[in-house]
């Protein structure tokens, strides 16, 4: 079972529907998380949402408690949240991407995806990862083709993955394939 932790977003249920193509999914608000469901889940997904990771201390606790024990996936805010817990700074960017379709590229040969491959994806983010960023086992694997902003990370060892873009958006081409590959690792 996949447990989606919702951060009051208006895209979370698109994520739920996408994941539900592959497994049973449960979804609760971040302040109504059920201990029982978390224990049952094989994968925990941190949803997109407004604001910044520091606004959601409950999510930080969950991440730290289950890191390495369960597969974890972060989308948009969730992506930033995982990196934030790994000591990254999440900062405002000059150019803001809301409802924007852009090309991103796989830039790392340690990725599950083929290096050099380009994806067309939908983006909704005001904030971004401040670089340089380094943390054990974490690799930045995709970047925006134009701005080079970090768009995905993978930690294969502890099975932690994150997307700054929205694989569930109608603006993302082949988003289901991206999710399928991560879920099947």
């Amino acid at each position: 079972m996949i447990y989606v932790i919702d951060h009051n977003d208006s895209f979370t249920h698109n994520v739920v529907h996408q994941l539900a193509l592959f497994d049973k999914v449960e979804c609760d608000n971040y302040n109504k998380v059920s201990e029982k469901k978390i224990k049952q889940a094989s994968t925990i997904v941190f949803s997109p949402g407004p604001g910044s990771p520091k606004n959601y201390p409950i999510t930080t606790k969950i991440y730290k408690k289950f890191k390495g024990k369960k597969k974890m996936i972060g989308i948009c805010l969730g992506f930033q949240h995982i990196l934030f817990c790994e000591g990254a700074k999440i900062i405002e960017q000059k150019k803001i991407y809301h409802g924007y379709q852009s090309n991103i590229q796989v830039v790392n040969n340690k990725s599950l995806f083929k290096k050099g491959k380009i994806f067309k994806v939908g983006r909704y983010h005001s904030l971004k990862l401040k670089e340089p960023f380094k943390s054990n086992n974490f690799e930045i694997t995709m970047r925006c083709l134009n701005s080079k902003v970090a768009m995905a990370f993978e930690n294969k060892k502890e099975k932690i993955y994150g997307f700054q873009f929205h694989p569930e958006s109608f603006l993302t081409v082949n988003g289901n394939l991206l999710i399928k590959k991560i879920l099947s690792t």
């Binding site: 009051n8 977003d9 208006s10 895209f11 979370t12 249920h13 698109n14 739920v16 529907h17 539900a20 193509l21 949402g49 407004p50 604001g51 910044s52 805010l77 405002e92 803001i96 809301h98 409802g99 924007y100 379709q101 939908g122 909704y124 983010h125 005001s126 904030l127 929205h166 958006s169 109608f170 603006l171």
Partner: protein, 382 residues
């Protein structure tokens, strides 16, 4: 007796009635046997109540949910605001339905009104605009719609206004309510819910351009496609409406049936999408209303944090504005619009609310003027 005479007679008799746009003309509902004034306390029982379906064309409740009530329903607080105690929502049970054609000829009656006054001037609008722009930069909202209100003292004949409005702008979700102590006149273009059996759809509008001699439908489409700001706003609304439908629909059933097409109306072009899905089993009316309302395209995105930002900013109650008008049939089918482009007349005051969106690349002056243009189409009726 011909139908227009019937309309005139019902109007002159003084009894309450409602007109709602249908595909071919208008439907008139009257002879109300029940009038339910909604509040925080009774809305859930109203929506959960089972009514026996007798396959009559009046087996339905028709009316509106105000903005505050829709916030209450999804547990979002609206702080104490200036208001004139207009009901939060009202539904009627009609016993008579009459079909009318598109032309509602009605002899112009005299009316009185003062000059419209705006509740937020340009300087204050800019202040609010800049505050919200900061919230976009920090990621608390991605798009937010600032509401401004125009008000005047008035004494009007709603049917006179509605027939004149319909003759220049035959909007697909137009409606009029005439009751003893209030009236609403609306040329809403936007459908929020169409539900037939287990099929449900929503048809958000994001992007409007005025028709000119040089601008045909194809050129309008090109205009929207090239306009990055309009495109991004539209994309956001599409993903948000997909999300709201996904709350209540079967996995894999939510589809973008029409993606970013142009619809042509008498004076303008709209940039619209149609999103549809199949309802999960055991979904109740209440679940549908809570998932879909208030309609996202007139609020901003993401819905909850944006509603909170708006409610903490706005000093005056929105009343009907960005609420929903429509009907729920006894068999569960429903149709609701989003209440925009409307005049509320209550206690001899006419009130028109308008809003336009703040996204990261919008401009305060431009949006303020845009609001005025939207209001002017209605103010010009006075």
């Amino acid at each position: 007796m011909n139908k227009l005479n019937q309309l005139a007679e019902i109007h002159q008799s003084g009894k309450p009635y409602i007109i709602y746009k249908s595909q071919k003309g208008f439907n008139l509902f009257t002879n109300f046997s029940q009038k339910i004034i909604l509040s925080k306390k009774n809305i859930k029982s109203f929506l959960n109540k089972k009514n026996r379906y007798k396959s009559k064309n009046t087996d339905l409740f028709i009316g509106f949910f105000g903005y505050e009530l829709l916030n209450n329903l999804i547990d979002i607080k609206v702080p104490k605001q200036k208001n004139f105690n207009f009901p939060k929502g009202i539904f009627y049970k009609p016993e008579k339905k009459i079909k009318l054609s598109n032309s509602l000829r009605y002899n112009k009656k005299s009316y009185e009104s003062g000059n419209f006054k705006i509740n937020i001037n340009r300087k204050n609008y800019r202040k609010i605009f800049n505050r919200f722009k900061k919230k976009i930069k920090s990621g608390e909202t991605y798009q937010i719609k600032i509401c401004t209100k125009y008000k005047t003292r008035s004494k009007i004949d709603p049917l006179d206004f509605f027939s004149r409005l319909s003759s220049t702008n035959l909007a697909p979700e137009a409606f009029m309510i005439k009751d003893n102590n209030y009236s609403i006149i609306s040329c809403s273009p936007e459908n929020l819910i169409t539900k037939t059996g287990s099929n449900i759809s929503t048809k958000p509008i994001a992007g409007t351009v005025k028709k000119t001699n040089n601008l045909n439908k194809l050129k309008a489409l090109n205009y929207f496609r090239k306009n990055i700001k309009e495109t991004k706003e539209h994309n956001m609304i599409v993903d948000m409406e997909r999300n709201d439908l996904s709350r209540i629909c079967k996995v894999g059933s939510v589809k973008l049936s029409k993606q970013k097409i142009v619809e042509e109306y008498k004076d303008l072009f709209h940039y619209v999408s149609l999103i549809s899905g199949k309802l999960k089993k055991n979904i109740k009316n209440l679940d549908i209303i809570k998932a879909m309302m208030p309609g996202g395209s007139v609020i901003g995105c993401p819905k909850i944090s944006t509603l909170n930002l708006l409610n903490n900013q706005e000093k005056e109650n929105r009343n009907i504005y960005t609420g929903s008008f429509g009907y729920i049939k006894f068999n569960g089918d429903m149709r609701f619009n989003i209440i925009i482009r409307s005049i509320l007349n209550y206690k001899n005051i006419s009130e028109i609310s308008v809003a336009s969106g703040v996204v990261v690349d919008s401009n305060a002056n431009h949006e303020f003027n845009e609001n005025f243009i939207k209001a002017k189409a209605l103010i010009d009726l006075f």
